[in-house]
């Protein structure tokens, strides 16, 4: 059975997550959607498959919130899947609405790693709502909201009837935080569902939007590492290990398409949230004419030149080892 798509809707308090979701659920294309929420907002979601979830977050030594926590969110998703398996629930997609204060990273990591649900689900998209009326003030005052935007695959600009995001500069500010996430305008929660769901978040066309030089805004630095020569598979492994080991929470998200020497013509698709990665996927072919390795990094303060040097030095070392 193919994995069910699961999407995460995040965004700061009052940014319009629930309004967006309640409108989306009226779309016939999303009729068979189960929703997991961990806060019940003022707007009631009239939906048959609404589940409540309180995320359990335990502060572990070393500051990592994700590794040893098997939260209520995972249990709730597991329960839904079990009900579906025995015919007690009929849905083809799950959407998780986070609390406004939630850091989406541990949620994504739990979905990626929990053995009970990870193989039954496929992360489809991470959607962040940004309130155009209060967005600037929220980004100024709440680092959580910056991280929510940085981790998203799609940004939905809400309350555009109250403020024009282009005129205020908010749209550009959010674009600098996360250049790869397309921005959609929602008016009273209305937005085309097909632009949010129904395709893989790992569409490589988004990688092409990145320029090699770094953008920094609100403490978030995003850039794209590029390399024209193929990398040894071991180099890729060592590179990701080094990032996970030393960069910790500074690495927010990494996604890329890698030309691997041992796999000519079949690039590796990689994706990670902080130090947790999906197993690499091997594409049958390059998705476009560009055959260069592209690794998009969204981080808090990591230096693009440093990571580029690290990649090059590791590959030289691996090359020297394979010759000797």
């Amino acid at each position: 059975m193919s994995p069910l798509p699961i999407s995460v809707v995040t965004g700061f308090l009052g940014s319009g997550k629930t309004t967006l979701l309640s409108r989306l659920l009226r779309d016939p294309a999303l009729a068979r959607t189960a929703v997991i929420v961990n806060e019940f907002g003022e707007v009631g979601l009239d939906h048959l498959l609404l589940e409540a979830s309180d995320e359990e977050v335990v502060l572990l030594e070393g500051g990592c919130l994700c590794c040893k926590v098997r939260g209520d969110l995972v249990r709730t998703a597991g329960d839904l899947l079990a009900r579906r398996a025995r015919g007690a629930a009929a849905f083809d997609r799950i959407v998780v609405e986070t609390t406004g204060l939630a850091d989406p990273a541990p949620i994504l990591q739990a979905l990626m790693t929990d053995r009970e649900i990870a193989e039954a689900l496929r992360l489809e998209s991470v959607i962040a709502t940004v309130d155009c009326a209060a967005g600037d003030a929220t980004l100024d005052a709440h680092p959580e909201s910056v991280k929510q935007a940085a981790l998203a695959d799609r940004i939905v600009l809400t309350k555009t009837d109250l403020a024009d995001p282009a005129a205020s500069g908010l749209a550009e500010r959010v674009r600098r935080i996360n250049p790869s996430a397309p921005q959609l305008i929602a008016l009273h929660g209305a937005v085309d569902a097909s632009l949010l769901f129904g395709s893989s978040v790992y569409e490589q066309r988004n990688l092409a939007l990145y320029e090699s030089h770094a953008h920094t805004d609100d403490g978030v630095t995003s850039f794209c590492l590029r390399r024209s020569a193929p990398l040894h598979a071991v180099t890729l492994s060592l590179f990701l290990q080094t990032l996970a080991e030393h960069c910790g929470a500074k690495l927010l998200r990494l996604k890329g398409l890698v030309d691997v020497l041992e796999s000519p013509g079949r690039p590796a698709l990689i994706h990670g949230v902080q130090h947790v990665f999906h197993p690499p996927a091997w594409l049958e072919a390059w998705p476009d004419h560009d055959r260069t390795t592209r690794i998009v990094v969204i981080s808090r303060g990591l230096d693009a030149d440093w990571l580029q040097d690290l990649l090059e030095v590791l590959d030289e070392e691996v090359k020297a080892c394979s010759i000797s």
Partner: protein, 99 residues
Amino acid sequence: MSSHKTAGVARVLSGALRVWGVSASVERDPERADAFVLRTQSGIRMQIAPTAPYGWLVWREGRSLGTHKGLTGLLRSLREELAPDAAAGRLIIGSQSLL
């Protein structure tokens, strides 16, 4: 080791020190072209030299800290020595398919 690679390693070490929050400089060892001298603002002096086939020898104030395998081993050793309180993560590969 080529001078190009030596310069790259020096930049990687300098960048790693910044990530760990350690104020230090990394320079070529005047006595050995492929080796480095690392000096922290707090006065620690370390020497780092490659050893075949892909190891790194490290000394702190002339005391050997052993041989470390590859750049990854060297970075781990330096972090443990210079920034023991810096967060150390571990790569986790989940079980969810990407496609």
